[in-house]
């Protein structure tokens, strides 16, 4: 290809003017490095948020009795263990991994002035898995404890702090509604989520809760079955979440013998809104950072144009000579364009290298409390390179055209 012969020429011209070339590239270097680094920090932050959200259980459906529409709560028939058993049938619910029952009750822990209000959740071992619970001490409840109705308890981080002041809690006894439970595990501090504050919670076997923590609402039993407060249904994937919700709805309507014109008397909630919010936050963040990047690239591009224009003026006599000895306008145009292109591409590559260095520096400031992740994606690299190439062509074009318009006689006389 004829175009190729301009590349060695451009390399020579760039090499003999090292400082000038470097200054020209500086705009692109800074532009590309800042775009990639800020974009990388943005992507890293949103990936971090996504991961947090994912640990909140995006594939979860929360089924509760009663409906909540127009801020009016309408009660419905309680959910029972029979519902849980029905939802656990995989042949009818192909998009459901498991249905986990919860029986919750708020109780006072301790007596007198030191008493604290905590939430006791009766559930099964699957609860830990679907909520990604991590433990700092001991272990979660076992199937055996559930079956044998052992009075074992896994406590939240704050509960452990209050009751045992940070000492080893496993094996100690905790009194809940005046009955002793043995602590088998302590949850990692987690804070608030959709389900409340995990840190002020005590988790005990489901049947024990249903038996010992009776309340009036929901009714303790319904049609001879133990009731549950909520059923947490885990769908196979985020994509199948809606299908799973439809399967839950169908089963529950059938079991409640609701006719076609009767509305649901239960509520199926999910956390997809969290994902949507996070996505829109990430999109805004990315657009904002890309905007800053675009401005710095524009400034860099104008810098290139400026220096290329100076370079054309400075090399007027060279251009005149080249024309005199046989350079067509096309040759001059391509010479300057290829030079601009090479400057911006090399600048882009240096910018990429620097952005990786900056990413490492940013990462070194990261701490567990304030995680800084820098994600430089291959797509961003390709975009940075093509944007800098386009910059070179765009901002190199005008000086190149100026160069072709020089009158060789005038240019030759120019010293």
């Amino acid at each position: 290809m004829r175009l190729l012969k301009y590349f060695p020429l451009a390399v020579e011209n760039i090499a003999v003017r090292k400082l000038r070339s470097f200054l020209t590239m500086l705009g692109v270097i800074i532009g590309v490095a800042s775009v990639l680094t800020t974009l990388g920090i943005g992507r890293g932050a949103s990936a971090d948020i996504m991961q947090d959200i994912a640990s909140e259980g995006l594939t979860l459906l929360i089924v509760e009795s009663g409906t909540n529409s127009d801020q009016t709560w309408t009660s419905g028939q309680p959910l029972t263990m029979a519902d849980v058993a029905a939802l656990s049938d995989p042949s009818l619910h192909p998009d459901i991994v498991q249905a986990v029952p919860l029986y919750r009750q708020y109780i006072h822990l301790g007596t007198g002035n030191t008493s604290r209000f905590i939430e006791v959740v009766g559930t099964t071992p699957a609860y830990a898995a679907i909520h990604n619970l991590e433990l700092t001490q001991g272990r979660f409840l076992t199937e055996q404890e559930i079956a044998q109705r052992t009075k074992s308890v896994v406590i939240g981080a704050d509960v452990a702090q209050w009751q045992f002041a940070g000492a080893d809690a496993v094996g100690k006894s905790l009194r809940i509604t005046n009955e002793p439970y043995t602590v088998v595990g302590v949850l990692r501090k987690r804070g608030w989520d959709r389900f409340g504050n995990m840190d002020i919670r005590a988790v005990i076997p489901l049947a024990v809760a249903q038996d010992r923590l009776r309340s009036t609402s929901p009714a303790h039993r319904h049609r001879g079955e133990y009731t549950v407060s909520e059923i947490h249904v885990n769908a196979v994937s985020i994509e199948r979440l809606d299908a799973a919700a439809r399967q839950v709805e169908q089963t529950l309507r059938l079991r409640r013998v609701l006719t076609e014109d009767e509305p649901n008397d239960f509520n199926i909630d999910n956390q997809a809104w969290l994902l949507e919010t996070a996505n829109s936050v990430a999109a805004t963040l990315t657009a904002f950072l890309a905007g800053i990047g675009a401005i710095s690239l524009l400034v860099g591009g104008i810098g290139i144009m400026n220096i290329m224009l100076v370079s054309v003026t400075e090399r007027t006599s060279e251009i005149g000579l080249r024309k005199a000895v046989g350079a067509h306008n096309r040759d001059i145009l391509l010479q300057f364009l290829v030079e601009a292109l090479m400057l911006t591409l090399v600048g882009g590559l240096i910018g990429i290298a620097i952005s990786y260095g900056l990413a490492e520096i940013v990462k070194s400031f990261s701490s567990p409390d304030f995680p800084l992740v820098v994600l430089i994606e291959p797509g961003s690299l390709a975009a940075a390179l093509s944007v800098s190439a386009v910059c070179g062509l765009l901002f190199g074009l005008y000086p190149a055209i100026r160069a072709t318009r020089l009158d060789p006689i005038e240019a030759l006389r120019h010293e």
């Binding site: 020429l9 003999v16 000895v325």
Partner: protein, 237 residues
């Protein structure tokens, strides 16, 4: 009429520059014929139109009126592209100020016309080194202008002008920026090539230089006032 057609034939050539409202006639109704292999000096005071004539003959400028035929082709009919190509293939330029590329080696300077002629790098290199050897600069091929003397620079420029084996060499005050001794050497180089058949046209205000030519055309105020042909020097040493 027999014999080959003239290399250059200009008829009633006029070049007018418009400076504001006034028209400056740089050339007025000039007619000339230059045959293949001639050795012509164009003399005249500054402002006499020498450079304008050279620019038009070198296809760098177009006449306002009149015709210019080079190798029987009417230059007025040629596109810019064709004129550039013709300049590249048929015309070599040597300037008073050498007009070398500031930071390129002598070999690179000599390769320049070949670059635009589309000659391969290897062949360009061979021919450039050959051209440099002919001007006695074989050992200076990798030197840059700032490492060369004035005379050496002009010899690089001559190598560049001759590398494409043109049929016409146009030199604008080729000895104007170098000392007399070196000027002699440069002229000797030209004359050697002239003996090999190159058509030479040298613009100068130096009478001594002009006296070496076989034909002296004198310009004044844009018009030819004399055109004298002289016999070959009786005894060339």
């Amino acid at each position: 009429m027999t014999g080959p057609p003239p290399l250059i034939e200009i008829r009633n050539l006029t070049r007018t520059y418009n400076i504001g409202r006034t028209a400056l006639h740089a050339l007025k109704n000039v007619s000339l014929t230059i045959e293949h292999g001639e050795y012509v000096a164009v003399v005249g005071t500054s402002g006499s139109g020498k450079s304008t004539l050279l620019n038009i003959l070198g296809l760098l400028d177009r006449p306002t009126e009149g015709t210019y035929n080079i190798r029987k082709q009417d230059a007025g009919d040629l596109t810019d592209r064709q004129r550039t190509t013709l300049r590249n293939r048929e015309i070599g330029f040597v300037f008073q100020e050498f007009n070398l590329l500031a930071r390129a080696t002598a070999r690179r300077q000599a390769e320049l016309p070949l670059f635009y002629a589309g000659v391969s790098r290897k062949e360009s290199r061979r021919r450039a080194l050959n051209a440099l050897a002919q001007v006695g600069l074989a050992d200076r091929a990798d030197h840059r202008p700032e490492e060369l003397s004035g005379g050496q620079r002009q010899r690089v420029a001559i190598a560049r002008a001759l590398v494409n084996s043109p049929s016409l060499l146009l030199a604008d005050e080729p000895t104007g920026a170098i000392d007399t001794q070196t000027g002699e050497e440069v002229m000797a180089l030209f004359e050697q090539r002239h003996l090999e058949g190159l058509t030479l046209l040298i613009v100068t205000h130096d009478r001594e230089i002009a006296a070496r030519a076989r034909r002296i055309i004198t310009l004044r105020d844009g018009a030819v006032i004399s055109d004298e042909r002289r016999p070959a020097p009786a005894a060339a040493p």
